[in-house]
Protein backbone atom coordinates (compact mmCIF):
# COMPACT_ATOMS: atom_id res chain seq x y z
CA UNK A 1 0.00 0.00 0.00
CA UNK A 2 2.68 2.47 1.04
CA UNK A 3 4.97 1.17 -1.68
CA UNK A 4 2.38 1.73 -4.37
CA UNK A 5 1.79 5.26 -3.08
CA UNK A 6 5.44 6.17 -3.53
CA UNK A 7 5.63 4.28 -6.80
CA UNK A 8 2.75 6.24 -8.31
CA UNK A 9 4.02 9.55 -6.92
CA UNK A 10 7.47 8.85 -8.33
CA UNK A 11 6.13 8.07 -11.80
CA UNK A 12 3.90 11.14 -11.87
CA UNK A 13 6.86 13.28 -10.84
CA UNK A 14 9.09 11.68 -13.46
CA UNK A 15 6.48 12.30 -16.11
CA UNK A 16 6.17 15.96 -15.13
CA UNK A 17 9.92 16.45 -15.15
CA UNK A 18 10.28 14.68 -18.51
CA UNK A 19 7.70 17.00 -20.01
CA UNK A 20 9.42 20.00 -18.47
CA UNK A 21 12.89 19.00 -19.60
CA UNK A 22 11.66 18.76 -23.18
CA UNK A 23 10.21 22.24 -23.39
CA UNK A 24 11.76 24.01 -20.39
CA UNK A 25 8.95 26.48 -20.81
CA UNK A 26 7.77 26.72 -17.22
CA UNK A 27 11.27 26.67 -15.78
CA UNK A 28 12.61 29.47 -17.94
CA UNK A 29 9.59 31.73 -17.73
CA UNK A 30 9.31 31.28 -13.98
CA UNK A 31 12.99 31.97 -13.53
CA UNK A 32 12.86 35.10 -15.58
CA UNK A 33 9.77 36.28 -13.78
CA UNK A 34 11.43 35.72 -10.40
CA UNK A 35 14.45 37.76 -11.45
CA UNK A 36 12.17 40.51 -12.73
CA UNK A 37 10.37 40.62 -9.38
CA UNK A 38 13.66 41.04 -7.56
CA UNK A 39 14.64 43.87 -9.87
CA UNK A 40 11.30 45.64 -9.68
CA UNK A 41 11.35 45.56 -5.89
CA UNK A 42 14.95 46.74 -5.89
CA UNK A 43 14.06 49.77 -7.96
CA UNK A 44 11.12 50.46 -5.70
CA UNK A 45 13.13 50.25 -2.50
CA UNK A 46 16.70 51.20 -3.19
CA UNK A 47 17.36 54.84 -2.51
CA UNK A 48 20.55 56.71 -3.33
CA UNK A 49 22.17 53.46 -4.26
CA UNK A 50 21.59 51.81 -0.89
CA UNK A 51 18.96 49.37 0.19
CA UNK A 52 17.46 49.65 3.66
CA UNK A 53 18.67 46.92 6.01
CA UNK A 54 16.85 43.63 6.20
CA UNK A 55 15.24 44.07 2.84
CA UNK A 56 17.05 41.19 1.15
CA UNK A 57 15.12 38.51 3.00
CA UNK A 58 11.79 40.11 2.18
CA UNK A 59 12.54 40.48 -1.50
CA UNK A 60 13.78 36.91 -1.77
CA UNK A 61 10.62 35.44 -0.31
CA UNK A 62 8.29 37.71 -2.25
CA UNK A 63 10.00 36.58 -5.45
CA UNK A 64 9.66 32.92 -4.44
CA UNK A 65 6.01 33.39 -3.59
CA UNK A 66 5.03 35.24 -6.77
CA UNK A 67 6.94 33.03 -9.15
CA UNK A 68 5.82 29.89 -7.32
CA UNK A 69 2.19 30.84 -7.83
CA UNK A 70 2.84 31.27 -11.53
CA UNK A 71 4.56 27.90 -11.81
CA UNK A 72 1.72 26.12 -10.04
CA UNK A 73 -0.84 27.56 -12.39
CA UNK A 74 1.18 26.53 -15.40
CA UNK A 75 1.80 22.94 -14.35
CA UNK A 76 -1.89 22.32 -13.86
CA UNK A 77 -2.74 24.12 -17.06
CA UNK A 78 -0.82 21.34 -18.78
CA UNK A 79 -3.09 18.73 -17.25
CA UNK A 80 -6.12 20.65 -18.40
CA UNK A 81 -4.97 20.85 -21.96
CA UNK A 82 -5.81 17.33 -23.07
CA UNK A 83 -7.94 16.63 -20.03
CA UNK A 84 -5.17 14.34 -18.81
CA UNK A 85 -6.08 15.19 -15.22
CA UNK A 86 -9.20 13.15 -15.83
CA UNK A 87 -7.10 10.25 -17.06
CA UNK A 88 -4.99 10.46 -13.90
CA UNK A 89 -8.08 10.42 -11.70
CA UNK A 90 -9.50 7.53 -13.70
CA UNK A 91 -6.50 5.31 -13.04
CA UNK A 92 -6.82 2.89 -10.11
CA UNK A 93 -3.94 4.73 -8.46
CA UNK A 94 -4.26 6.26 -5.01
CA UNK A 95 -5.48 9.83 -5.58
CA UNK A 96 -3.28 11.37 -2.86
CA UNK A 97 -0.31 9.76 -4.61
CA UNK A 98 -1.09 11.80 -7.70
CA UNK A 99 -1.10 14.94 -5.57
CA UNK A 100 2.23 13.94 -4.06
CA UNK A 101 3.74 13.34 -7.49
CA UNK A 102 2.68 16.75 -8.76
CA UNK A 103 3.97 18.39 -5.57
CA UNK A 104 7.38 16.76 -5.95
CA UNK A 105 7.63 17.88 -9.56
CA UNK A 106 6.81 21.43 -8.56
CA UNK A 107 9.39 21.35 -5.76
CA UNK A 108 12.15 20.34 -8.15
CA UNK A 109 11.21 23.24 -10.39
CA UNK A 110 11.15 25.76 -7.56
CA UNK A 111 14.42 24.44 -6.19
CA UNK A 112 16.06 25.20 -9.51
CA UNK A 113 14.61 28.70 -9.47
CA UNK A 114 15.85 29.31 -5.94
CA UNK A 115 19.35 28.12 -6.79
CA UNK A 116 19.55 31.10 -9.12
CA UNK A 117 17.58 33.50 -6.96
CA UNK A 118 19.55 33.18 -3.72
CA UNK A 119 22.97 34.09 -5.15
CA UNK A 120 21.33 36.91 -7.10
CA UNK A 121 19.82 38.42 -3.97
CA UNK A 122 23.09 37.85 -2.12
CA UNK A 123 24.92 39.72 -4.84
CA UNK A 124 22.55 42.65 -5.20
CA UNK A 125 22.09 43.26 -1.49
CA UNK A 126 25.38 42.07 -0.06
CA UNK A 127 23.55 39.47 1.97
CA UNK A 128 25.70 36.86 3.74
CA UNK A 129 24.17 33.82 2.06
CA UNK A 130 27.15 31.60 2.79
CA UNK A 131 27.32 32.39 6.49
CA UNK A 132 24.85 29.71 7.60
CA UNK A 133 24.15 27.68 4.46
CA UNK A 134 22.56 24.73 6.31
CA UNK A 135 19.99 26.80 8.13
CA UNK A 136 19.29 28.96 5.10
CA UNK A 137 18.73 25.87 2.98
CA UNK A 138 16.43 24.44 5.66
CA UNK A 139 14.35 27.61 5.75
CA UNK A 140 14.05 27.74 2.00
CA UNK A 141 13.27 24.04 1.68
CA UNK A 142 10.64 23.99 4.41
CA UNK A 143 9.07 27.28 3.38
CA UNK A 144 8.88 26.33 -0.28
CA UNK A 145 7.47 22.93 0.69
CA UNK A 146 4.69 24.48 2.75
CA UNK A 147 3.84 27.02 0.12
CA UNK A 148 3.89 24.45 -2.70
CA UNK A 149 1.87 21.90 -0.73
CA UNK A 150 -1.08 24.23 -0.29
CA UNK A 151 -0.64 25.71 -3.76
CA UNK A 152 -0.67 22.33 -5.50
CA UNK A 153 -3.94 21.44 -3.80
CA UNK A 154 -5.56 24.77 -4.61
CA UNK A 155 -4.33 24.75 -8.21
CA UNK A 156 -5.77 21.25 -8.66
CA UNK A 157 -9.04 22.34 -7.07
CA UNK A 158 -9.32 25.31 -9.40
CA UNK A 159 -8.46 23.46 -12.60
CA UNK A 160 -12.05 23.48 -13.82
CA UNK A 161 -12.97 26.92 -12.50
CA UNK A 162 -13.12 29.77 -14.95
CA UNK A 163 -11.41 32.52 -12.98
CA UNK A 164 -8.67 30.20 -11.77
CA UNK A 165 -5.81 32.55 -12.62
CA UNK A 166 -6.99 35.24 -10.23
CA UNK A 167 -8.54 32.94 -7.65
CA UNK A 168 -5.34 30.99 -7.06
CA UNK A 169 -3.38 33.89 -5.53
CA UNK A 170 -6.52 35.15 -3.78
CA UNK A 171 -6.87 31.84 -1.97
CA UNK A 172 -3.21 31.02 -1.59
CA UNK A 173 -1.66 34.16 -0.15
CA UNK A 174 -3.76 34.64 2.99
CA UNK A 175 -3.41 30.98 3.90
CA UNK A 176 0.35 30.87 3.45
CA UNK A 177 1.13 34.07 5.34
CA UNK A 178 2.54 32.17 8.36
CA UNK A 179 4.97 30.50 5.96
CA UNK A 180 5.98 33.89 4.58
CA UNK A 181 6.44 35.36 8.02
CA UNK A 182 8.52 32.40 9.13
CA UNK A 183 10.58 32.42 5.96
CA UNK A 184 11.27 36.13 5.91
CA UNK A 185 11.95 36.55 9.62
CA UNK A 186 14.08 33.43 9.74
CA UNK A 187 16.13 34.51 6.76
CA UNK A 188 16.44 38.03 8.11
CA UNK A 189 17.64 36.61 11.42
CA UNK A 190 20.41 34.86 9.51
CA UNK A 191 21.28 37.86 7.37
CA UNK A 192 21.39 40.54 10.02
CA UNK A 193 24.62 42.07 11.27
CA UNK A 194 24.59 40.01 14.49
CA UNK A 195 22.82 36.81 13.38
CA UNK A 196 20.14 35.57 15.72
CA UNK A 197 20.48 31.79 15.43
CA UNK A 198 17.94 31.04 18.14
CA UNK A 199 15.33 33.04 16.26
CA UNK A 200 16.11 31.27 13.01
CA UNK A 201 15.84 27.96 14.84
CA UNK A 202 12.42 28.94 16.17
CA UNK A 203 11.11 29.76 12.71
CA UNK A 204 12.51 26.53 11.30
CA UNK A 205 10.63 24.67 14.02
CA UNK A 206 7.42 26.49 13.24
CA UNK A 207 7.76 25.62 9.57
CA UNK A 208 8.25 21.94 10.38
CA UNK A 209 4.97 21.96 12.30
CA UNK A 210 3.11 23.93 9.67
CA UNK A 211 4.33 21.68 6.86
CA UNK A 212 3.47 18.49 8.72
CA UNK A 213 -0.06 19.64 9.48
CA UNK A 214 -0.85 21.13 6.11
CA UNK A 215 0.62 18.35 3.99
CA UNK A 216 -1.45 15.87 5.99
CA UNK A 217 -4.52 18.03 5.50
CA UNK A 218 -3.84 18.25 1.77
CA UNK A 219 -3.45 14.49 1.42
CA UNK A 220 -6.75 13.98 3.25
CA UNK A 221 -8.74 16.53 1.29
CA UNK A 222 -7.37 15.88 -2.19
CA UNK A 223 -9.73 13.02 -3.01
CA UNK A 224 -13.02 14.50 -1.68
CA UNK A 225 -12.29 17.86 -3.22
CA UNK A 226 -11.36 16.50 -6.66
CA UNK A 227 -14.39 14.24 -7.15
CA UNK A 228 -17.11 16.14 -8.88
Amino acid sequence: MIASFFRVAWHVMRKDLTVEVRSKEVLLTTLFFAVSVVLVFSFAIVREGRAPDDVAAGILWVAVSFSGTLAMGRTFERERYNDTLRALLLAPADRPAIYAGKLLGLLVLLALVEIVLVPLVGLLFNAPILAFPGRLAALLALGTLGFAAVGTLFAAMLVRVRSRDTLLPVLLYPITIPVMIAGVRGTAALFQATPDLAMAQFWIGLLVFWDAIFITLALWTFEPVMTE
Partner: protein
Amino acid sequence: MKKLNPLLIGLSAIMLGVSPWIINAAPYESTMGLVQKIFYFHFPSAILFLVAALICGVASAIFLFGKKASADGWAIAAAELGLVFGTLTLVTGPLWARKAWGVWWVWDPRLTSSLLLWMIFCAYLLLRKYGGPGSDKLGAGMALFGMANVPFIYVSVNVWRTLHPQTSVVPTLPTDMGIPLWFCFAAFTMLFMALLNLRARLEHQRARVEALYLAEDEA
Protein backbone atom coordinates in the same frame (compact mmCIF):
# COMPACT_ATOMS: atom_id res chain seq x y z
CA MET B 1 -35.08 26.54 17.34
CA LYS B 2 -37.01 28.69 14.88
CA LYS B 3 -39.17 30.19 17.59
CA LEU B 4 -36.09 31.33 19.42
CA ASN B 5 -34.86 33.63 16.67
CA PRO B 6 -37.31 36.52 17.02
CA LEU B 7 -36.80 36.35 20.77
CA LEU B 8 -33.03 36.51 20.39
CA ILE B 9 -33.17 39.37 17.95
CA GLY B 10 -35.66 41.29 20.04
CA LEU B 11 -33.68 40.85 23.19
CA SER B 12 -30.37 41.76 21.62
CA ALA B 13 -31.88 44.79 19.93
CA ILE B 14 -33.16 46.03 23.27
CA MET B 15 -29.88 45.33 24.99
CA LEU B 16 -27.85 47.03 22.32
CA GLY B 17 -30.19 49.97 22.44
CA VAL B 18 -29.71 50.26 26.17
CA SER B 19 -25.99 49.62 26.09
CA PRO B 20 -24.81 53.23 25.61
CA TRP B 21 -26.23 54.10 29.02
CA ILE B 22 -24.71 51.09 30.68
CA ILE B 23 -21.38 51.79 29.07
CA ASN B 24 -21.62 55.38 30.15
CA ALA B 25 -22.14 54.28 33.72
CA ALA B 26 -18.90 52.28 33.72
CA PRO B 27 -15.87 53.97 35.22
CA TYR B 28 -13.18 55.51 33.05
CA GLU B 29 -10.06 53.52 32.51
CA SER B 30 -7.06 55.25 33.98
CA THR B 31 -4.78 55.78 31.01
CA MET B 32 -7.09 56.11 28.05
CA GLY B 33 -10.23 57.69 29.38
CA LEU B 34 -13.33 57.82 27.24
CA VAL B 35 -11.84 56.15 24.19
CA GLN B 36 -11.33 52.90 26.02
CA LYS B 37 -15.07 52.35 26.00
CA ILE B 38 -14.92 51.15 22.40
CA PHE B 39 -13.58 48.03 24.07
CA TYR B 40 -17.09 47.04 25.09
CA PHE B 41 -18.04 46.59 21.45
CA HIS B 42 -14.63 45.66 20.14
CA PHE B 43 -14.01 42.71 22.42
CA PRO B 44 -17.29 40.80 21.86
CA SER B 45 -16.96 41.38 18.11
CA ALA B 46 -13.47 39.93 18.13
CA ILE B 47 -14.46 36.87 20.12
CA LEU B 48 -17.49 36.16 17.93
CA PHE B 49 -15.28 36.62 14.89
CA LEU B 50 -13.11 33.76 16.14
CA VAL B 51 -16.17 31.68 17.03
CA ALA B 52 -17.46 32.16 13.48
CA ALA B 53 -14.12 30.93 12.15
CA LEU B 54 -14.34 27.84 14.31
CA ILE B 55 -17.90 27.07 13.23
CA CYS B 56 -17.01 27.55 9.58
CA GLY B 57 -14.07 25.19 9.88
CA VAL B 58 -15.97 22.46 11.70
CA ALA B 59 -18.98 22.69 9.38
CA SER B 60 -16.68 22.49 6.35
CA ALA B 61 -15.03 19.37 7.74
CA ILE B 62 -18.42 17.74 8.34
CA PHE B 63 -19.54 18.69 4.84
CA LEU B 64 -16.41 17.38 3.15
CA PHE B 65 -15.73 14.21 5.16
CA GLY B 66 -19.05 13.46 6.80
CA LYS B 67 -20.80 14.24 3.51
CA LYS B 68 -23.70 15.97 5.23
CA ALA B 69 -25.12 18.44 2.76
CA SER B 70 -26.77 20.61 5.42
CA ALA B 71 -23.41 21.38 7.00
CA ASP B 72 -22.61 23.55 4.02
CA GLY B 73 -25.42 25.95 4.95
CA TRP B 74 -23.87 26.45 8.40
CA ALA B 75 -20.43 26.95 6.86
CA ILE B 76 -21.51 29.74 4.56
CA ALA B 77 -23.60 31.37 7.25
CA ALA B 78 -20.65 31.34 9.64
CA ALA B 79 -18.34 32.75 6.96
CA GLU B 80 -20.65 35.66 6.21
CA LEU B 81 -21.06 36.43 9.90
CA GLY B 82 -17.33 36.12 10.32
CA LEU B 83 -16.94 38.77 7.65
CA VAL B 84 -19.44 41.06 9.39
CA PHE B 85 -18.02 40.71 12.89
CA GLY B 86 -14.51 40.81 11.52
CA THR B 87 -15.27 44.09 9.78
CA LEU B 88 -16.70 45.38 13.02
CA THR B 89 -13.53 44.37 14.85
CA LEU B 90 -11.29 45.89 12.21
CA VAL B 91 -13.21 49.16 12.24
CA THR B 92 -13.46 49.56 16.00
CA GLY B 93 -9.82 48.62 16.40
CA PRO B 94 -8.33 51.44 14.34
CA LEU B 95 -10.84 53.91 15.76
CA TRP B 96 -9.51 53.06 19.18
CA ALA B 97 -5.92 53.09 17.97
CA ARG B 98 -6.33 56.52 16.44
CA LYS B 99 -7.47 58.06 19.66
CA ALA B 100 -5.22 56.10 21.95
CA TRP B 101 -1.96 56.18 20.01
CA GLY B 102 -2.53 58.76 17.31
CA VAL B 103 -2.28 56.42 14.33
CA TRP B 104 -5.00 54.62 12.42
CA TRP B 105 -3.21 51.35 12.06
CA VAL B 106 -0.51 49.68 14.09
CA TRP B 107 0.92 46.29 13.37
CA ASP B 108 -0.41 45.12 16.70
CA PRO B 109 -0.31 41.30 16.77
CA ARG B 110 -3.98 40.82 17.38
CA LEU B 111 -5.08 43.38 14.85
CA THR B 112 -2.80 41.90 12.23
CA SER B 113 -3.98 38.36 12.97
CA SER B 114 -7.57 39.54 12.69
CA LEU B 115 -6.83 41.16 9.37
CA LEU B 116 -5.34 37.91 8.04
CA LEU B 117 -8.28 35.84 9.21
CA TRP B 118 -10.66 38.41 7.74
CA MET B 119 -8.88 38.10 4.42
CA ILE B 120 -9.24 34.34 4.53
CA PHE B 121 -13.00 34.81 4.97
CA CYS B 122 -13.03 37.19 2.00
CA ALA B 123 -11.15 34.67 -0.11
CA TYR B 124 -13.60 31.94 0.91
CA LEU B 125 -16.61 34.04 -0.04
CA LEU B 126 -15.01 35.06 -3.34
CA LEU B 127 -14.43 31.41 -4.14
CA ARG B 128 -18.03 30.53 -3.30
CA LYS B 129 -19.26 33.36 -5.49
CA TYR B 130 -17.01 32.96 -8.53
CA GLY B 131 -16.01 29.35 -8.33
CA GLY B 132 -18.80 28.06 -10.53
CA PRO B 133 -20.47 24.69 -10.00
CA GLY B 134 -18.91 22.55 -7.33
CA SER B 135 -17.58 25.55 -5.45
CA ASP B 136 -19.23 24.32 -2.28
CA LYS B 137 -16.73 21.47 -2.10
CA LEU B 138 -13.81 23.68 -3.07
CA GLY B 139 -14.83 26.24 -0.48
CA ALA B 140 -15.03 23.56 2.19
CA GLY B 141 -11.51 22.42 1.35
CA MET B 142 -10.22 25.95 1.52
CA ALA B 143 -12.05 26.69 4.76
CA LEU B 144 -10.33 23.75 6.42
CA PHE B 145 -6.97 25.21 5.54
CA GLY B 146 -8.03 28.62 6.72
CA MET B 147 -9.18 27.41 10.10
CA ALA B 148 -6.20 25.12 10.62
CA ASN B 149 -4.14 28.25 10.23
CA VAL B 150 -5.63 30.11 13.17
CA PRO B 151 -3.11 28.95 15.82
CA PHE B 152 -0.23 29.47 13.42
CA ILE B 153 -1.35 32.97 12.52
CA TYR B 154 -1.56 33.78 16.18
CA VAL B 155 1.88 32.44 17.04
CA SER B 156 3.76 33.75 14.04
CA VAL B 157 2.29 37.23 14.14
CA ASN B 158 2.91 37.49 17.86
CA VAL B 159 6.53 36.52 17.57
CA TRP B 160 6.93 38.74 14.53
CA ARG B 161 5.71 41.73 16.48
CA THR B 162 7.67 41.20 19.65
CA LEU B 163 10.85 42.01 17.82
CA HIS B 164 9.82 45.63 18.07
CA PRO B 165 8.60 47.22 21.29
CA GLN B 166 4.87 47.76 21.52
CA THR B 167 2.51 49.32 24.07
CA SER B 168 0.27 46.68 25.52
CA VAL B 169 -3.45 47.17 25.59
CA VAL B 170 -4.73 44.52 27.92
CA PRO B 171 -6.49 46.14 30.86
CA THR B 172 -7.26 44.09 33.93
CA LEU B 173 -10.93 44.25 34.72
CA PRO B 174 -12.49 45.47 37.96
CA THR B 175 -16.15 44.46 38.48
CA ASP B 176 -17.75 47.73 37.54
CA MET B 177 -16.13 47.35 34.16
CA GLY B 178 -17.00 43.68 34.02
CA ILE B 179 -20.74 44.31 34.06
CA PRO B 180 -21.03 46.44 30.92
CA LEU B 181 -18.60 44.06 29.19
CA TRP B 182 -20.67 40.96 29.86
CA PHE B 183 -23.83 42.86 29.07
CA CYS B 184 -22.57 43.83 25.62
CA PHE B 185 -21.11 40.37 25.18
CA ALA B 186 -24.48 38.76 25.84
CA ALA B 187 -26.22 41.15 23.44
CA PHE B 188 -23.74 40.48 20.65
CA THR B 189 -23.81 36.74 21.20
CA MET B 190 -27.58 36.57 20.99
CA LEU B 191 -27.49 38.60 17.82
CA PHE B 192 -24.82 36.28 16.41
CA MET B 193 -26.78 33.15 17.21
CA ALA B 194 -29.98 34.51 15.72
CA LEU B 195 -28.28 35.67 12.53
CA LEU B 196 -26.40 32.38 12.17
CA ASN B 197 -29.64 30.43 12.51
CA LEU B 198 -31.50 32.61 10.05
CA ARG B 199 -28.76 32.57 7.44
CA ALA B 200 -28.24 28.82 7.70
CA ARG B 201 -31.97 28.27 7.48
CA LEU B 202 -32.08 30.46 4.36
CA GLU B 203 -29.42 28.30 2.79
CA HIS B 204 -31.18 25.07 3.75
CA GLN B 205 -34.46 26.32 2.35
CA ARG B 206 -32.78 27.36 -0.87
CA ALA B 207 -31.47 23.82 -1.18
CA ARG B 208 -34.93 22.42 -0.48
CA VAL B 209 -36.53 24.62 -3.11
CA GLU B 210 -33.94 23.43 -5.58
CA ALA B 211 -34.62 19.79 -4.69
CA LEU B 212 -38.37 20.32 -5.06
CA TYR B 213 -37.85 22.04 -8.39
CA LEU B 214 -35.72 19.16 -9.60
CA ALA B 215 -38.20 16.55 -8.37
CA GLU B 216 -41.08 18.37 -10.00
CA ASP B 217 -41.46 16.47 -13.20
CA GLU B 218 -40.11 13.15 -12.07
CA ALA B 219 -42.52 10.23 -12.31
